[in-house]
Each structure stands twice: as C-alpha cells, then as structure tokens.
C-alpha cells in the first residue's frame, strides 16, 4: 500500500469516531476543525490517482480526483462544516459521530476510483446515516429500521451489479456506462434507490423527518447527492433518467402540497429537486451535466438551510405540523428570514443560487429541442415555488397566529443559517465562483433580461395561484399513502393473514390428530386396559386347558 496523501473522507470518518471520546471544548473544536481539515485535503489532491491499495488481488484506487469529484468533495466538506456548527449544541455525541462518519464515507465515495472502493464506502454511508436516524429518539427506531432495510436492498442490487460487471469486463474501473446489460441495470437500480427515485422514494420522507432537529440537516445532503454524483459519472445521457427525473419532480410537488408536517414537506421537496438533477443527467450534454452538478452544489446549501430553519422551529417549539405552527415571524425573525432565503433559492429566484444552477438544465433541454421536457421542467419550477417556495415559509412562519412566541435559536444555529444564507445569495450574485468549479467549461449567462423576466413572471404568478387557491391548500391532520404502504401495511397484513391461515391449518391438524389419538387410546384401553379382554390376567386352569389342547394336537399330528 502506497500512502501519498491522507484520504480526505477517511480523516472525517476517523475524526467523527473520536467525537465519541471527547467532551466540552475539545468536542466543539473537533466538530468545527475536522471539516475544514477535510476541505484543505480535498483541495490539495492532484488530478488522477493519489492513493492506491491492493485487496484480494485487485488494485484498488482509494483516492482519485478530477473536477467532478473535487466539486462534490468541496460541497460535502462545506456542508459538514455548516452542519457541525449548527449541531454544536446537540447533546447526543452518537449522532454527531454518525453524521461525520456518514459525511466522510460520502466523500470517500466521491473520490473512489473503482467499483469495489465505491461499494464499500456506499455501505459505510448507509451505516452512518442509519445511526443518525436512530438518534432521533424512540419514535425514530422503526423508521431507522425501515431505512436500513431499504438501503441494504439497494446495496445488494449494487453489489450484484458490480460483481456481474467485474465478471463480464474483467475490470473494476468505474467509468461512464450505457445501461445495456443486466449487471449495469442492477447498478443503476442500486444508485436510483439512494437517489430517492420514484417508486423507491418513500424511504426518504419516512426516515429523514424522524431524525432529531439537527439530524435531518445532515441527512438531507449526502445520500441523494452521492447518488447524483455516481449517476453523473456512471450513467450520463441514459434516456430513461429523463422520465424518472420528471416523475420525481411531480411526485415531490403533489405529495408536498398534500403534506402537513413541515419536515416531510421538505423531504418530498428533496425528491423533487433531485428529480431536476436526474433529468439533467438523462439529457447528458455538457451543459446538462454542468447544470446537474451545479444544481446539486446549490441544492445542498439551500436545502440544508431550509431544514435548519425547520430544525430551529422544532428545537424551539417541539412542533412539526403546519396545523400547530404559524405566526412565528414575530419572535423568530432571523429564522424566518433565513427560511425565506432558502425558499427563494430552491425556487430559483433571481439573485439566489437556484437561479444560476437550475436554469442550465432547462436551457440544455431547449438546446436539445426536447420541447415536452422543457415545458414540464417549467411547470415543475412553478410547482417548486408553490410547494416549497411559499408553502413552507407561509404555513410555518406566517399563516395564522398559533400563539407560540419562541425566540430565535442559540447562536451557533443562527450562525450556521446566516453562513448558508450568505452562500445562497453569494452564488446568486457571483455565479462565476461556482461555474469555475464545474466539470465542463461553462458557456452560459444566467442574467439576461429575458431570463430574469420570464423567471419572475413564472414565480410570482405561481405565488398568485397559491394565494388564490389558499382555501384548497388548507392543512389537515392527514398523511398521503406512498409506496412504503406496501411494506408498512400490506406486507404485515399479508403475513398476519398467512399466520392466521397457518394457525387455523395447524389447529385443525392438531385437532384431528388429537381426536385420532384419543380414539386409539380408547381402543387400547378397551382391549388392553384393566377390564380389556386382552388385558385380563389368565387363571392357571385356562393355561392347563390350552396346554392339554396343544399336546393333544401334537399327538394327533404325529400319529397321522
């Protein structure tokens, strides 16, 4: 094993485990410094293979860097820092350790140069994230188990695909592929499960909102965006991704419109946003792939910001349902402002990060003359403003007066939200900063009069629709059934039914056997019991009689 540089992901993972051992100031220092150290290590990575190792006769590439992996590594490290700051006052060290382990393994996936390294880190990521969900408390235990089960299924598909790919090609390299063989389809399915693709999206709104007030912020960033990264590298230009992405966009909108729990609204909107990225990957041109990568970068920050503002509300009030919330802008002005900045960014409002990233995907669709895709993406953008851009801040911070008067959260949580708000606006004003990091050269100007005007029209008229239809959007104490119904309700019902059938079969079998056994017993008792004809003791006279009979028979037989 040749060690040239420290693997950045491994540093964050190992450092994260250290968090379990330290307390107080040391813990805070570690939380803030680890991601910064990771970021420095990422920026020092040269292009190409930086670290190799040998494992079971395979030459593994533990760390390999290029523009795409550095982009994702950078945003993952920034995200880890923002989350560390936000979660500084989280008393559960296990959640923090799990969070950094999870973030570190996501960074390791991004720098993995071969399929085996990728798979190992993919699974470590599932372990880290399950721990974070688990730390959400007693109510989260069931969700954590379901989350783990879904990701183990995804891991099995991925492993089967990787094994098949290595057998077929003899190479463990991870390069762009076409989905043309069974192993590659299996890998694609494994990736898509983590991306939250329809119909495997239900795990996300099931698990993430059950994490703690801080836990959901770290969860929102890594699993789905690591999946976006591997799709970008492994399956660019795969047509079916366009349709899967569109399905995710509208699934997210419809479910978020119907949802009452503010954190589940945000969970559905993760699926919606990843849908835009998946569409970009499916289109597959340089502009589309740039757009998908840029949107992943921007999305991590504004989604974390939204989840942090919701986490702050949960932390201060203990409430998650829109029906219980409202009017918080009075006493939580900073949280409200940061939530609005996140909401404007997710809606691609001009001067925010979403505006400069998402529009590249639409532009790429237009350049490829994909009219239907372009029209649906525009409808999706309007829907984003509807379900996340206005709905989230409106129902949480304005709406009615809930009577709640909580103050803004502690300083570290405020600082994290301010930092991420600044990045959202900073990228919106200076898109060049992000464009310089993208995998391909950027030939795109987001700020044209035409583009700004169309976007403002699209968004503000969506806003008009929201307020005109407000009575139809009133929140009720309901959830909407999703595909997790199959394993949360139908599965258990089927098993309970099978159990009843088996039970009654057993009952009748056992009953029949008991009747039979009783009959046998009675028969035996009649013939062999104390009163039975075969059970009686025989008098000596009888024996003498029969002996005489036998002797007589013998005499007769011999004399014949």
């Amino acid at each position: 094993m040749t060690l040239e540089l420290l693997p950045p992901g491994l540093v964050l993972m190992a450092g994260g485990l250290l968090l379990l051992a330290v307390r107080g100031l040391a813990r805070s220092a570690l939380l803030l410094l680890l991601p910064l150290l990771t970021l420095v290590l990422i920026w020092q990575l040269p292009d190409g293979v930086a670290l190799g190792a040998s494992f079971l006769g395979n030459d593994l590439t533990i760390v390999k860097a290029d523009r795409l992996s550095r982009l994702f590594g950078t945003i993952f490290a920034i995200m880890a820092f923002g989350w560390g700051l936000f979660a500084l006052n989280q008393p559960r060290s296990a959640e923090l350790a799990g969070g950094y382990f999870y973030a570190g393994s996501a960074i390791s996936v991004v720098f993995a140069g071969d399929l085996i390294t990728l798979f190992i880190n993919w699974e470590l990521m599932a372990i880290g994230s399950t721990i974070v969900v688990w730390c959400g408390g007693q109510a989260a235990a069931g969700a954590a188990l379901r989350y783990a089960a879904v990701h183990i299924l995804g891991g099995v598909l991925l492993m089967a695909g990787i094994a098949g790919e290595i057998t077929a090609t003899g190479s463990i390299a991870f390069n762009a592929m076409a989905a043309d063989t069974l192993p590659r389809w299996l890998m694609l399915c494994g990736f898509l499960i983590n991306a939250g693709a329809v119909p495997f999206s239900a795990w996300l709104p099931d698990a993430y909102p059950e994490a703690s007030w801080s836990g959901m912020a770290v969860l929102s960033a890594f699993t789905t965006k690591t999946a976006v990264y591997v799709l970008l590298r492994g399956f660019p230009g795969t047509d079916i991704l366009i349709y899967i992405g569109l399905a995710m966009i509208f699934y997210g909108i419809v479910y978020a419109i119907l949802e009452n729990d503010m954190r589940r609204i945000l969970a559905y909107s993760i699926v919606n946003q990843v849908g835009f990225m998946v569409v970009g990957i499916g289109i597959g041109t340089e502009m589309a792939l740039n757009g998908a990568a840029a949107h992943a970068f921007a999305h991590i920050i504004y989604k974390a910001l939204l989840v942090m503002s919701a986490g702050s509300v949960l932390y201060m009030t203990g409430k998650r349902k829109c029906t219980d919330l409202g009017g918080l802008f009075r006493t939580m002005p900073l949280t409200t402002l940061c939530g609005i900045i996140g909401a404007l960014s997710i809606s691609s409002f001009p001067l925010t990060s979403g505006f400069i990233s998402k529009s590249m995907i639409s532009e790429a669709a237009a350049n490829q003359h994909l009219a239907l895709v372009w029209v649906l993406l525009a409808a999706g953008s309007a829907g984003v403003f509807l379900h996340a851009g206005i709905k989230f801040p409106w129902f949480v911070f304005f709406q009615k007066d809930s009577g709640l008067r909580p103050p803004d959260p502690p300083w570290n949580m405020r600082a994290a939200m301010i930092l991420f708000s600044a990045i959202c606006i900073g990228l919106g004003i200076l898109p060049g900063l992000l464009y310089a990091l993208l995998p391909f050269p950027v030939d795109y100007v987001p700020y044209t009069a035409s583009h700004v005007l169309s976007q403002l029209q699209l968004l503000l008229f969506s806003g008009l629709a929201f307020f005109l239809l407000l009575s139809w959007l009133k929140r009720t104490l309901t959830i909407t059934l999703d595909t997790d119904w199959f394993y949360r309700r139908l599965g258990p019902r089927v098993f309970a039914g099978l159990d009843r059938v088996a039970d009654s079969l057993w009952q009748s079998l056992a009953g029949g056997f008991a009747t039979f056994a009783a009959a046998v017993n009675r028969g035996l008792h009649r013939h062999h019991g104390p009163e039975g004809s075969l059970g009686r003791s025989w008098p000596t006279g009888t024996m003498a009689f029969w002996t005489t009979v036998m002797l007589a028979a013998y005499l007769i037989l011999t004399s014949i």
Binding site: L258, F329, F461, S462, L481
Partner: protein, 83 residues
C-alpha cells in the same frame, strides 16, 4: 390573538390590502415588460405573449387540482401507521 391595532403591522387587514395592491401592480408590470424585453423562444408555445406568467399560473392550478384528486384517493389520518 386579535387583528387589532396592537398586533404586528403585517397582520393588520389594512396592511394586507396594501400588500395585495402592491403585488398585483408588480404582476401587471411584469407582464407589461414583455412588450419591451425581447425573448428568444425555443419552441412555438413560449413565444406567446406573457407565456411564463399564464403558464406558471396555469401549471400551479393544474398541480393543485391534481394533488386534490390524488389526496382524495390516498389521504389518511396522520395516525394511520400508529394503529
């Protein structure tokens, strides 16, 4: 809480009316700007006057109706899985 004079200015009926007026004025201005700003339509449909405005509005109405329909079939009380 009441909507009286002592509450936050943002929730007073008078402020809300003013906000609506400002909002509608901005909407009208945005559509009017379409006369001045030249667009470069990629397809036929996006060349129609005020495309983004009416399309955004229509898309949201359709999405809300679609969500209502979906909800009519699949909505359950939020204690559904607790039972």
């Amino acid at each position: 809480m009441s909507n009286g004079e002592h509450d936050h200015w943002l929730v007073r009926p008078q402020s809300i009316r003013r906000l609506w007026i400002a909002f509608i004025a901005i909407l009208a201005l945005l559509v009017a700007l379409d006369l001045v700003v030249g667009h470069h339509p990629h397809f036929g449909i996006d060349g129609i006057f005020g495309f983004s405005a009416w399309y955004g509005f229509l898309a949201c109405v359709v999405l809300v109706i679609a969500a209502k329909a979906w909800g009519a079939l699949f909505k359950r009380t939020d204690t559904y899985y607790d039972a």
